[in-house]
């Protein structure tokens, strides 16, 4: 603080050394409400300030008010828990064949029925959940990370790097995703769960990269970034400390929803026999297997072979979407408390 910016000394000077002097009335008397605050009740003083909540606790509060999100969260905990502890809860083993009970409908012994080799569908579905879970989370996390880095760099530095990135994502967007993925997996990595996941990552990162790039692009020019730059902050500090926190909200939402999308896409790939293949369990494969032997010995349709694996996928993705929706409500920076 230079000499010129210190408050004026003299009979009218305030007693504290704050940067701004306390307010002065018409005749120069001190009109700061010191005398009143003491006499005023605490609750009234609280009326003075807007309740200052940290952004995270406010977001948390909003999330928990969102009933669907809580239901989704609960559902995910149950389902993913089942996947994680697959070994412990499945009543049978995954490939246990029982030729005495082939293609039987749901019963107390076999909750989801049995297939053409007498394998318990409930067990297979649970193991399938585990695979879906692994694929979904892996793809979401890795593609988010990759997309974040690339998007940040492109959005921040702009120029030819940004252009290149945008053309690349445009290219990915112009072609039907499933077709490209099918081509990719057909040629590169069928069967192996992790190869398929990597291929998915290769296409999923573009989505998050665009979002992050957009935010970096718009915030790069904002005044507080310029101010930080003026006080000597380097590029990395600017990106991490100032701009990045603003992307966390959309990133979290995007990543959550990506889990659901990844699960859906992997299921489609596996159903078409270009994704994960046996012996690795996959819900898509279960449905595909069902097509090979769709009929019961009596001529009806073994609907349980198709319905249950698919239904599981639906429930998982629904729960993921509920949670994602709740997160979006909670973290959306444009929704603030209303003022008159």
């Amino acid at each position: 603080m230079t000499e010129a910016s210190r408050p004026p000394q003299g009979p009218l000077a305030p007693s504290d050394d704050s940067l701004f002097p306390s307010a002065q009335g018409l005749e120069g008397e001190n009109i700061a409400p010191n005398s009143v605050v003491g006499a005023v009740d605490d609750t009234h003083a609280a009326g003075l300030e807007l309740k200052v909540r940290s952004q995270w606790s406010y977001a948390r509060m909003r999330f928990f008010r969102h009933r669907l999100a809580l239901i989704g969260l609960f559902g995910l905990v149950v389902i993913f828990g089942a996947g994680i502890f697959a070994g412990l809860i499945s009543p049978y083993s995954y490939s246990e064949i029982d030729l005495n009970h082939i293609i039987q409908g749901p019963s107390l012994a076999h909750y989801f029925g049995t297939d053409a080799l007498g394998r318990d569908q409930f067990t297979r579905v649970i193991w399938g959940i585990r695979t879906s879970m692994e694929v979904g989370v892996f793809v979401a996390v890795v593609s988010t990370f990759v997309g974040l880095v690339i998007g940040a760099v492109a959005g921040y530095y702009g120029g030819w790097l940004d252009n290149l990135l945008m053309r690349a994502t445009d290219l990915v967007l112009t072609l039907p995703l499933l077709a490209i993925l099918l081509t990719a997996t057909a040629l590169l990595g069928q069967g192996n769960q992790w190869r398929v996941s990597l291929i998915l990552v290769f296409f999923f990162w573009t989505g998050i990269a665009r979002v992050v790039r957009g935010i970096f692009l718009s915030l790069r020019e904002k005044e507080y970034v310029e101010a930080a730059k003026a006080s000597g902050a380097g590029d990395a500090r600017l990106m991490f400390r100032h701009i990045l926190p603003n992307t966390l909200g959309p990133i979290v939402v995007n990543a959550t929803l990506a889990v659901g999308t990844a699960i859906l896409v992997e299921a489609a790939l596996s159903f078409l026999n270009f994704g994960i293949k046996p012996p690795t369990p996959s819900l898509g494969v279960l449905v595909s297997d069902a097509q090979a032997n769709p009929n019961t010995p009596t001529g009806g349709i073994a609907w349980w072979l198709t319905i249950f694996p698919g239904l599981t996928i639906v429930v998982i993705v629904l729960c993921v979407n509920f949670v994602g929706d709740g997160l979006r409500d909670a973290l959306d920076p444009t929704q603030r408390r209303m003022r008159a």
Partner: protein, 322 residues
């Protein structure tokens, strides 16, 4: 407006070029379709070598790309590496079938989605709104193949139990020709159309609702009300058109997913469409056939995006003068 359209068209050409180039390199490197023939004792080494030379498989990749490109224009996409037959007639036939049911699904989904989105927004938080919000959520969570199978199973089951065929569950036609042929075709396409329509509808109705709500709370709608305009006119003249603008973008982005949905649906319902053709080509690693599919679909996407861009320019005067 015209310059805008022309510019969009010109921009698409290099995009097409690059995407096909990349795809070609990718597919070419990934595998040699003749590889399995080498190990087959019925084919002599000489025959395999001849085939290799004939199919240009011994040339560098880039050169092969340009040869392929040449083939595209002169020989109409060339011949299938697997069957040796011309690809073009296959492509046109299958594309025609796919186009039939894709276009109907999309148009239906748009009309239904937009109308229900509008009504949901006007009657926000009503039973109607909650019902259709739930349907949308379900639509987002359902794998296309599963929905297709669900419909197939349901209607096959009805047929098996009650001996009544409401809709067919496989194939394009059961009749070879005759006066009832079109109706027969519709009966066969009904379930595939329903599948794609439901999935797209969920998207459009949701976005339309959100867009409507966004616009209803905007300042210019308040201005219109302050002028004394009736609520009906406010919705139809001010809200509707502005709310429709984002939908064109959504529809354009959804087109890729629609083609993917076609692949799956055609597989489930055994339809002779380009998606089914694609799956078969992949299984046999038929490079030229795969490339043909990728090229055609890329063009389709570009064309559709162009239509969406034009629609956008029509709806929103702000971008016309860019």
């Amino acid at each position: 407006m015209l310059t805008y359209i022309v510019r969009r068209i010109l921009y698409s050409i290099p995009v097409l070029f690059f995407s096909t180039f990349l795809s070609f390199i990718f597919v070419a490197y990934a595998g040699n379709p003749l590889a399995q023939l080498r190990s087959n004792p019925r084919f002599s080494q000489q025959t395999v070598d001849n085939m290799t030379h004939q199919l240009h498989l011994d040339l560098p990749v880039v050169q092969r790309y340009f040869l392929w490109l040449q083939d595209v224009f002169t020989h109409k996409l060339g011949n299938s590496l697997y069957t040796g037959q011309a690809l073009w007639p296959q492509i046109t036939r299958t594309m025609g079938h796919t186009a039939q049911f894709i276009i109907i699904s999309e148009v239906l989904a748009l009309i239904l989605g937009v109308s229900i989105g509008i009504y949901s927004a006007i009657r926000q938080y009503s039973v109607f709104d909650y019902l259709f919000t739930s349907i949308s959520f379900l639509g987002f969570a359902m794998p296309t193949f599963w929905l297709a199978l669900l419909l197939q199973i349901t209607f096959t089951d009805i047929f098996l139990h009650y001996n009544v065929r409401i809709f067919y569950t496989s194939g394009l036609n059961s009749l070879p020709g005759g006066p009832a042929w079109s109706w027969d075709r519709m009966q066969h396409l009904a379930l595939p159309i329903a599948t794609l329509c439901i999935i797209s509808f969920a998207l459009y109705s949701r976005y339309m609702r959100a867009s409507m709500l966004d616009v209803i709370n905007s300042d210019y709608v308040r201005t219109a009300r302050a002028k004394g305009v009736s609520e009906w006119r406010v919705i139809m003249r001010h809200v509707f058109r502005n709310a429709l603008i984002p939908i064109t973008t959504v529809a354009a982005l959804n087109f890729g997913a629609l083609l993917g949905g076609a692949i799956v649906t055609e597989t489930v319902f055994s339809l002779d469409g380009i998606g089914f053709f694609f799956i078969q080509s992949l299984q046999t690693l038929d490079l030229y056939a795969v490339m043909a599919y990728l090229l055609i679909t890329a063009i389709a996407v570009v064309v559709f995006n162009l239509i969406a861009d034009i629609a956008y320019g029509f709806l929103d005067p702000r971008i016309r003068y860019d």
